[in-house]
Amino acid sequence: MNKFTISGSPHVHGDESTKKVMYGVVIAMIPAVLVGVYYFGLDAVRVLLLAVAASLFFEWLIQKYLIKGSLTINDGSALVTGILVALNVPSNLPGWMVIIGALVAIGMAKMSFGGLGKNVFNPALVARVFLLVSFPVQMTSWPKPMPITDGLVDVITGPTPLGIVKEGLGNGQTMSQLSTELPSYTQDMVGNIGGSLGEVSALALILGGVYMLWRKIITWHIPVSVLATVAIFSGIFWGFDPEHYADPMFHMLTGGLMLGAIYMATDMVTSPMTKSGQLVFGFGVGLLTILIRMWGAYPEGVSFAILIMNAVVPLINKGFKPRRFGVKPGVEVKA
């Protein structure tokens, strides 16, 4: 008598796996990592290694000794979180703060909610905001970009473009007066500006985003709706008063917007499940970002915007369903 496997259909499986998705995100972050290392040198390497090692370690520790469950540190998710923590902090952040960031991301934001797939908020962003409110000075002392090719020189810190605008406008200066202090768009694109380790080069981030789109890890809905909302709202204000509001291009290319829109807001676990819901989510992130940048206490608002919208995701999931087959839009169907 032959012994056959008995199971329900389907009997074949596509070649996607959680691991492939996670390592796909890792590959997509390589350009931004390289740019970070190029401009911020060995410090960037130090932060990256520390963040990744600490994230993996804490995940292992918690799974082994607190949850006593199966160990899944090689599924790639802790690696992604570790890299994202590093990309979200200044490269000159003291090592112990980086480790605290990793602990907050993995321990507080991920494992305490039940681990992979259960967390409400993006772990790396929770870490970024936690560090920002706990260590405001260290988290906003941005090293100036020094191409690694210039050799090892002492790190000089300076403000980010968004910081320059926030402070300048607050002191009554106009955009045209500030324009001499601000980097050019080309500098914004390649990453030759002050900022967190991985957020400086819009070009590198977009490159990774295109890769993730091609691999179907993300869809265009969130990045495009975030960026479009930011562009439209900043454009409206800039159109009325270009002396007191920065132009849309500036808003799109500076700060954590690209990193946020492409890598953080698109986090599968913490974003809506349907494409229509993702558009709403992206709109919310874009709008809150602009509100915080223009009128908030912080020069940058992407992290807060995404975390706030993370909290709204369950509601969006309830309200925005996929288009059902055989149901006319707006018609209530009761079986």
Partner: protein, 446 residues
Amino acid sequence: MGILKTFALGGVHPEENKLSSHAAIEVLPVPKQVIVPLGQNLGAPSKAIVKKGDKVKVGQLIAEAGGFISANIHSPVSGTVLKIDPAIDSTGYRRPCVFITVEGDEWDENIDKTDTLKAEIALTPEEIVNRIKSAGIVGLGGATFPTSVKLMPPPGKTAEFLIINGVECEPYLTSDHRVMLEKGKEIMVGIQILMKALKVEKAFIGIENNKKDAIAYLSELSQSYQGIEVVPLKVQYPQGGEKQLIKAVVNREVPSGKLPIEVGCVVQNVGTALAVYEAVQKNKPLIERVVTVTGKGVKKPSNFLVRIGTPVEQLIEAAEGLPENTGKVISGGPMMGKSLTSLDAPVVKGTSGILIMEKEESGRKTESPCIRCSKCTYVCPMGLEPFLLSKAAKLGKFEMAENEMIMDCIECGSCQYTCPANIPLLDYLRLGKLKVGQAIRNRNKK
């Protein structure tokens, strides 16, 4: 050729693996014994009208339809009824079957066994439907819904289009493909018969573009038949689903919970069209069908013309045996087929193929937590949220599952195929559908 038509929502594209597409249909020798299950079709099982010791001829009625949605069953062989006893069928359950010991091959004398094409349709629509009904024809695509029922639209509804399903979107299976290539003319006449029965002017044959030879051949044939048009379709699973096919071919959407007739369509499989031809023109009931035997380890992937009731084992023998490292034997395709518990299970009217999978590909991958990637939602051809429905079913929240339209699930398996976390979504969805279905029936009783 411009952009190929396909359905709008979701879909996946598994490896096609049509290993047997060039294997011409071979007639499998009549076995020594057949086991004919009484429950072969969707709906009520049939009632046996023979008893132990009865002599039967090929094509003789041995079981009558057990209700409106049921079908007659005819003896696929000549010989003596050995017994009527439960036996394991392709569902894995022991269910009543008629065992017939084969003696010779003596056909009922009313059956025209010749191969000559009979194109003239002499019967009236009512006579056609009756002939199809008495011949026990059911949908041969796998769903086994009695064909005559589909040809009698409920009062107030009329059919506008007949859509012939030549999609064969399941990977591996090639029986429909071969039938289209080898029985094209008969299919054309069968379609004309179905058109006459339904009183429609227009029929479409939907064929996926991975069967270019069938598209070319049937397109050429259709020139000489009024109102038949071949529609090449983009390869996309589950295009063979009735609702998906209608959407792809005539761009109409069957409303949730309704039948295709609601949008003026009736869908029939190509194999069914052939069976209709044989029943109406040749007086031959449904006693045999084409079955693909395939799999990566199978020495001779084949398409056999098989008598109903032939044990699966004999088909596998004819394809040069069960491979050494067989892990799973599936009745049907890899996406929707059922895994067999025993090779003694007989071929039934709905058996489109026997797929033999190697040990390495037979198991499931380890399940990991849902990462909420939404891929299941993106690929669902019905626009459902499998992650949510499976969760609801798992937690026993069947009311929620019903509100989220679980009954619209067509069990195509695209969600589970796609899931990066290897979650057995369809297992839970089936459980949910079962429970919600029971709840609905109980509600309707009150």
